[in-house]
């Protein structure tokens, strides 16, 4: 009896969110999933991306509504932090489930 699981897995891969299916953006989102918010410098150091790369990827995530910018004061010092939106959190959860299912199916 033929096993269709690998084909299902490949099909699931095509459903992946292309915006998140990029290592740099996925790294940024993964950091924002576990943090309430982080500024540009913190993300720069934690992800190891270049300034230009981080800037462009954050902008893409912002345009997609996955990340929002919040301006706040920390001890009277203005800080621009990036936060994950509900939409971004949902997209990450879906992405994670989809890729796990796909890889699981391909592994059978």
């Amino acid at each position: 009896m033929p096993n269709d699981a690998p084909l299902d897995g490949l099909q699931r891969l095509s459903e992946l969110d292309r915006l998140l299916h990029e290592p740099a953006r996925l790294q940024i989102i993964a950091h924002l999933v576990v943090l309430e918010g982080a500024d540009f410098l913190f993300l720069l150091r934690q992800t190891g991306l270049t300034k230009g790369n981080l800037s462009s990827h954050v902008r893409k995530l912002e345009e997609a509504g996955y990340v929002e910018v919040e301006k706040k004061f920390v001890d009277r010092h203005p800080v621009t932090t990036y936060k994950l939106t509900d939409r971004g959190r949902e997209a990450f959860t879906t992405y994670r489930e989809t890729i796990l299912e796909a890889l699981d199916a391909l592994g059978n």
Partner: protein, 210 residues
């Protein structure tokens, strides 16, 4: 490594990054000096309140000036309050029970002075719990060492014949608080010096992606 472990690692890295500056230990050291000053002296109890109210904002101010310009700013999600409260309550009850059992073994569990003499052990275990909590969140070895030092030094100073021979005035609690305060200031101060040397102020501080 599973995805969940990966996210947990990111969370822990963020905690470690934010605590690498040693300023938490310096703040704990200052609070322990207050303990040394006020222990058993009702006239100085107000200093506990001043310490608790002032040290939090003071730490934020120091981080804003020395830490965030070097490594950036991140907000870590608050702990689940119920879980944290249950954990703290269990630790406090456990510490009291441990001291009570030890005093019972010496046959002095009902002796008021014996409880007073055991105060450093109790304080050492309680403060050790705080350091252990911080160590588990950040994974910093030096904070694990402080947790162990707090509990061990407290128990040693409470042990009959080791602590100071002044009875009835929490003298051994004060000695413990001074020892731990100096240790915290030394450990935190060295960590801070290293942190500042290794992380120069970044041009990116507070700039956005535009």
């Amino acid at each position: 490594m599973t995805k969940r472990n990966g996210l947990e690692r990111i969370r822990r890295n963020a905690h470690r990054e934010l605590h690498r500056d040693g300023l938490t230990e310096v703040t704990a050291g200052i609070f322990l000096f207050i303990v040394a000053l006020a222990a058993g002296r009702p006239a100085f109890y107000w200093t506990y309140l001043v310490g608790l109210v002032m040290l939090g904002p003071g730490l934020t101010r120091l981080r804003s000036r020395y830490t965030y310009p070097r490594i950036g700013f991140a907000e870590v999600p608050p702990e689940d309050r119920k879980r944290l409260g249950r954990g703290m309550a269990a630790w406090v009850v456990g510490a009291f029970l441990a001291v009570a059992v030890a005093l019972a073994l010496f046959g002095v569990v009902t002796d008021h002075l014996a409880w007073r003499r055991a105060a450093p052990a109790l304080a050492g275990i309680l403060f050790g719990g705080g350091f252990l909590y911080l160590a588990q969140r950040s994974g910093l070895k030096r904070v694990y060492a402080l947790a162990a030092a707090s509990a061990l030094s407290g128990c040693l100073l409470a042990w009959p014949g080791i602590g100071p021979r002044v009875e009835g005035a929490y003298a051994n609690l004060r000695v413990w608080a001074i020892v731990m305060a100096l240790l915290c200031l030394a450990v935190g101060g060295l960590a801070f010096r290293r942190f500042v040397r290794e992380n120069p102020i970044s041009e990116e501080w507070s700039s956005d992606a535009e």
